[in-house]
């Protein structure tokens, strides 16, 4: 059963200059479409990964999912409840405690003046729950020691801090955890430890992850299903084996070819041409058409819809 269902999700940010400047400089309003008409579902107890380069809208989707941002259009249903439009406070409250988030920077996401015990118990304490021994128990579950509860965040290394963030996310016994680049700030060997821990906890607590990352190799290892984003649009969705062995969208193909390979000794790649276009004035039609080797007239006028091809969903006129 799908725990999360995202339908036609769109988020537009107003990045205009102030009113007076617009008037004097005769500039129109500037609207940045960070997420454009994205739909996907996350099955219970799976890992859904969103990959994309900076500005592709992956973090914006994560923030809308946990309720930190309101969608401009479309719906985010978590267990059938649309947080942005639901009016029953009890329902909202029960869903909210089911969602937690882990952020990229473990140095910025822990309050340096709080003891680890208080940081971890906060999600429960905020709702008036019992917190006796909770932090100590969770610390041991994430591979730290119960004695660490009395320490402050600065006494820990980056990997240990990320473990504290994970313990905090687990405190309210959530069903869904949104992980926004959880290992990007960590070294490879520490990353391996944290990823293994996340897999173990998923099995142990029956968790569902939305895993946001730019690192294709991490995503390939962790995900059950991968969505590739480009300029706020979902361009391809498939399971890891299909996506990596047989990428169908030209952007996915470009991304996979550009990613460094561990056995790519002296590999001479023709590097991708061009850069991500300006999201305020995206190209008409398919957003990838200025960089796409297959682009035809149709791509410049008509935005391709997501089509189901085999086990994948692809937004390309020419994919087969």
């Amino acid at each position: 059963m799908a725990i999360v269902s995202i339908r036609n999700l769109t988020r537009i940010f107003d990045v205009s200059k102030p009113w007076l400047n617009r008037l004097i400089e005769r500039k129109p309003k500037a609207l940045l479409t960070a997420v454009s008409d994205v739909s996907f579902e996350i099955e219970e107890r799976t890992v859904y990964a969103l990959v994309g380069e900076s500005g592709s809208g992956k973090s914006t989707i994560g923030k809308m999912l946990v309720g930190l941002l309101r969608p401009s259009e479309g719906h985010v249903d978590i267990r059938g409840v649309d947080l942005a439009h639901e009016t029953d406070a009890a329902k909202i409250e029960s869903i909210r405690s089911d969602i937690q988030m882990i952020f990229q920077d473990p140095y910025a996401s822990l309050n340096p003046r709080w003891r680890v015990r208080d940081i971890i118990a906060e999600p429960v304490a905020a709702r008036g729950g019992a917190t006796d021994g909770l932090a100590e128990r969770l610390l041991e579950q994430v591979g730290l020691s119960a004695r660490d509860a009395g320490k402050f965040p600065h006494e820990f290394s980056g990997g240990q801090r990320q473990r504290i963030c994970i313990a905090r996310a687990l405190a309210s016994e959530p069903k869904l955890i949104v992980c926004d680049e959880p290992t990007s700030a960590l070294d490879v060997s520490v990353q391996a430890q944290v990823l293994n821990l996340m897999s173990d906890l998923k099995d142990q607590f029956g968790l569902t992850y939305l895993f946001i990352s730019h690192d294709l190799t991490v995503v390939q290892h962790m995900a059950d299903r991968i969505g590739v984003l480009y300029l706020g649009r979902l361009v391809e969705e498939a399971d890891p084996d299909t996506l990596f062995d047989d990428p169908k969208h030209p952007y996915t193909q470009m991304l996979l070819a550009a990613a460094p390979k561990l056995d790519g000794f002296g590999r001479e790649v023709a590097p991708p041409q061009g850069e991500i276009p300006d999201p305020i004035n995206p190209p008409p039609g398919c957003a990838f058409n200025p960089r796409c080797p297959l682009a035809a007239d149709r791509c410049r006028s008509e935005r391709p819809a997501l089509r189901t091809i085999g086990g994948s969903r692809v937004a390309c006129h020419f994919a087969e």
């Binding site: 380069e53 391996a192 430890q193 991490v218 590097p271």
Partner: protein, 326 residues
């Protein structure tokens, strides 16, 4: 064989503190030849950037070079005074840092920053320097270089800014470039562009490159040889193909194993137990022995063999035996 552009011999950097001397770089030796890219990998705190900073004379006091020598084109540079090493930076040694926004002056047009560097180091007139600035921007692949030369850094995207920084590093035609995490802040597709650019320029001009990064994939694709650092020491040094595909130091082996690519199809990633020791609590003997699966008694007592004179592969008593790789 021609003499190497950069030679580092037994380099040790000390930081005296109230609680004793910390040694972030400990007896490191390697060479870089002309036209060669040496990848320096390691995790945070392994001393890879500190070694790079020692070469360009940018160690922050109280950090200082305690022993060892650094030779650039056969000349000692570690003993030079502040002014002399300053003339060398930019002229003989170019630098590319991780964050292109902080290495460019936001208040100066990029053309002015390029000409400033060239006028400081080369005997050129203003007009010649400007011409060369445009040529340098063209060479690093900035479209419309003649117009863009009068743009400010904020008008460029991250990838384009890093190209400007590379142009800046190359404009005085240095014999060595130190690139410290040049692509870490960039997206995958832009990273591929920058790596391809560095490789091409290095090959065409015969510049030696010290490529400092934590990304094994980047090393595999860009470097000719690789130096793996752990806790301030050189753990393994050799041709990139041999070191990455068939590592013989247990640390390199563990590091390669913990990358998600190497574990494709497995449920769990291989992990090295524990964490890198803090500099004020280095274990006796080999620094890696508490985490090493092959530890024997001699590893705990003796710091182990060193890679000296840029020869040899692994600083380890019990390297992993490998079949000869083709």
């Amino acid at each position: 064989m021609t003499s190497p552009v950069l030679t580092i011999r037994d380099l040790t950097v000390d930081i005296p503190t109230r609680h004793g001397i910390l040694r972030p770089v400990n007896g490191v030796s390697y060479d870089i030849a002309a036209g060669e890219i040496l990848g320096v990998v390691g995790e945070s705190g392994a001393g890879k950037s500190m070694a790079g900073n020692a070469v360009i004379g940018l160690l922050n006091p109280p950090a200082h070079i305690a022993t060892g020598e650094i030779l650039l084109n056969g000349q000692r540079i570690d003993t030079l005074g502040r002014d002399a090493i300053r003339r060398l930076r930019g002229k003989e040694i170019g630098m590319v840092f991780q964050d292109p926004l902080t290495s460019l002056n936001p208040l100066l047009k990029i053309g002015d920053q390029l000409t400033e560097t060239m006028l400081a180091h080369l005997d050129l007139t203003q007009t010649e320097a400007r011409k060369r600035a445009i040529a340098a921007l063209e060479e690093v692949g900035i479209p419309g270089a003649a117009q863009r030369v009068d743009s400010y850094p904020h008008e460029f995207s991250g990838g384009m800014r890093q190209r400007v920084v590379i142009a800046l590093a190359l404009c005085a035609e240095p014999s060595l470039i130190i690139a410290d995490e040049p692509t870490t802040a960039l997206d995958v597709s832009v990273q591929a562009q920058i790596i391809a650019l560095l490789k091409r320029l290095c090959r065409e001009r015969g510049t030696a490159v010290m490529l400092i990064t934590h990304d094994m994939g980047v090393i595999a694709e860009a470097a000719d040889r690789v130096a793996v650092m752990y806790a301030g020491q050189l753990a393994e040094l050799g041709p990139v193909r041999e070191v990455l595909a068939a590592p013989i130091h247990p640390y390199t082996d563990g590091l390669m194993g913990s990358t998600p690519l190497a574990s494709r199809g497995k449920d769990r990633l291989h992990q090295i137990p524990g964490a890198m020791p803090r500099l004020d609590a280095l274990p006796a003997g080999c620094a890696f022995h508490p985490r090493c699966p092959y530890t024997q008694d001699d590893c705990k007592a003796d710091p182990g063999p060193r890679i000296e004179d840029g020869a040899g592969r692994a600083a380890c008593f019990h390297p992993i035996a490998r079949e000869e790789v083709a």
